[in-house]
Symmetry: C2
Subunit: 261 residues, 2 copies
């Protein structure tokens, strides 16, 4: 995944705890965001506690800019979103984080600069500060417990940003070093297994036999074996049936004591 350099700014208004600034910086860098702006932090900044919490995202903290008020922090931006636990009673667009990121990408592509506003830990943004934003972005979480930690809120915006650039398929199977087995490799093994199950009497019920075989094939195909795994399965079958390396001499069928004892 490649995350572009042109990305939203994160504006923290009056943050109270240096740890939260640090964890927010870490979350930002996790998601490819680097433009951190702080409006009148109520904790010391820079501060060693912020750097410890940033766990390696010190570059984001070092580049952070300080402002005296929200308007100055937003001055060079074209589009601003105000995050909030709930939308306020204000005539203003309300959009989901996902939709906000879609709009952000359109705005950035047109050369605009974009930012997200985050209020202080306990008090959030003031109404006058939300007024400066183009839209409100509430987080649709548990309505009975919707107060997010500051850095967690920053992460959610960053996550929507990062995942909007992610092109990995939603589902895939790692095949390790082997390629997925061919149909003939699978078929050859299953035919051999059927023969052995016939020989040992497991498939002795002629009414059940077709169903049992169908289920067995479905199970193997569902597991999507690779060529190496088919070779291993052949080896296991040989081991179980022919017992070429059996340590207990002369046994033609497995000693069951291990399982029964």
């Amino acid at each position: 995944m490649t995350l572009p350099d042109a990305a939203p700014a994160i504006v923290l208004v009056r943050p109270q705890l240096a740890e939260n600034i640090g964890t927010a910086a870490r979350a930002m860098l996790n998601c490819g965001l680097r433009d951190l702006r702080l409006v009148r932090p109520r904790c010391a900044f820079p501060d060693e506690r912020a750097n410890r919490a940033a766990s390696g995202a010190d570059a984001v903290l070092a580049a952070a800019r300080l402002y005296d008020d929200v308007a100055s922090a937003l001055a060079d931006l074209n589009v601003v979103y105000a995050t909030c636990p709930r939308d306020r009673d204000m005539v203003k667009p309300v959009i989901t984080p996902q939709a906000a990121i879609e709009s952000v990408k359109v705005a950035l592509a047109a050369g605009s600069k974009v930012g997200f506003l985050f209020g202080a830990e306990r008090t959030g943004l003031e109404n006058d500060e939300i007024t400066l934003a183009d839209a409100m972005v509430p987080f649709p979480v548990n309505p009975e417990f919707n107060s997010l930690n500051l850095a967690q809120a920053v992460l959610l915006v960053g996550w929507e940003w990062a995942r909007s650039h992610d092109e990995t398929p939603s589902r895939r199977v790692r095949t390790g070093r082997g390629k997925p087995a061919t149909k003939s490799e699978i078929d050859e093994f299953l035919s051999r297994l059927e023969s052995e199950l016939d020989a040992c009497g497991f498939l002795r019920n002629p009414l059940m036999r077709p169903v049992a075989i169908r289920n067995l094939r479905a199970f193997f195909l569902r597991a999507r074996p690779n060529s190496q795994e088919i070779r291993t399965a052949h080896g296991m079958l040989t081991g179980l049936v022919e017992r070429p390396h059996a340590t207990r001499a002369g046994k033609s069928r497995p000693d069951r004591r291990d399982r029964e004892g």
Copy 2:
């Protein structure tokens, strides 16, 4: 938004910091998750630091269950996902958090119990622990800085869970107490504004006039005014033109000193 009671369990394997357990519990409750399981925490638990970090999610901590090993923590679950920064070299399905949550909802609807495994802060999950899971769920974040804080990783799973239940429209406009204005209310105001702009000479260029009016109408419609805002606009226009409450007597046009001074 209503979040269902049947929800995934969160299994933290050997967490190191009580604060992270607390922040994870807060993130869980933010997202409507309540089943927290801890495998051999390396910090004291229960612990006051966890409760402080949970910021009110104490019920999740109080209900947390402790286990001696991963297998015991997963024993009653039917489907388990192992979260990890990167997928390991292991023949196992790899799915995105979003796709995992889609599968979780299908499994829960069929009566299965589901969980997500999270490794310790520094070391992550061991390969043998990932082997117990049905699929790996890496987080597609900045490949150059992909180590997420433990509670942040928990939040991302919770967020995908919560947002998958969110039915708020992706975009809407709060109209406050007023209804959106009718077309005739808007038209009446704009016609009056045009007359006044004609009267004061602002629209004196006959070539530009149609364009100026079109742009003005587009601007007003884009703002999606409500009825109250149209009434306020009428009041402002009356104030500017007729100056019924002007404090500076006898002025027929505004005193420009305020702006020019």
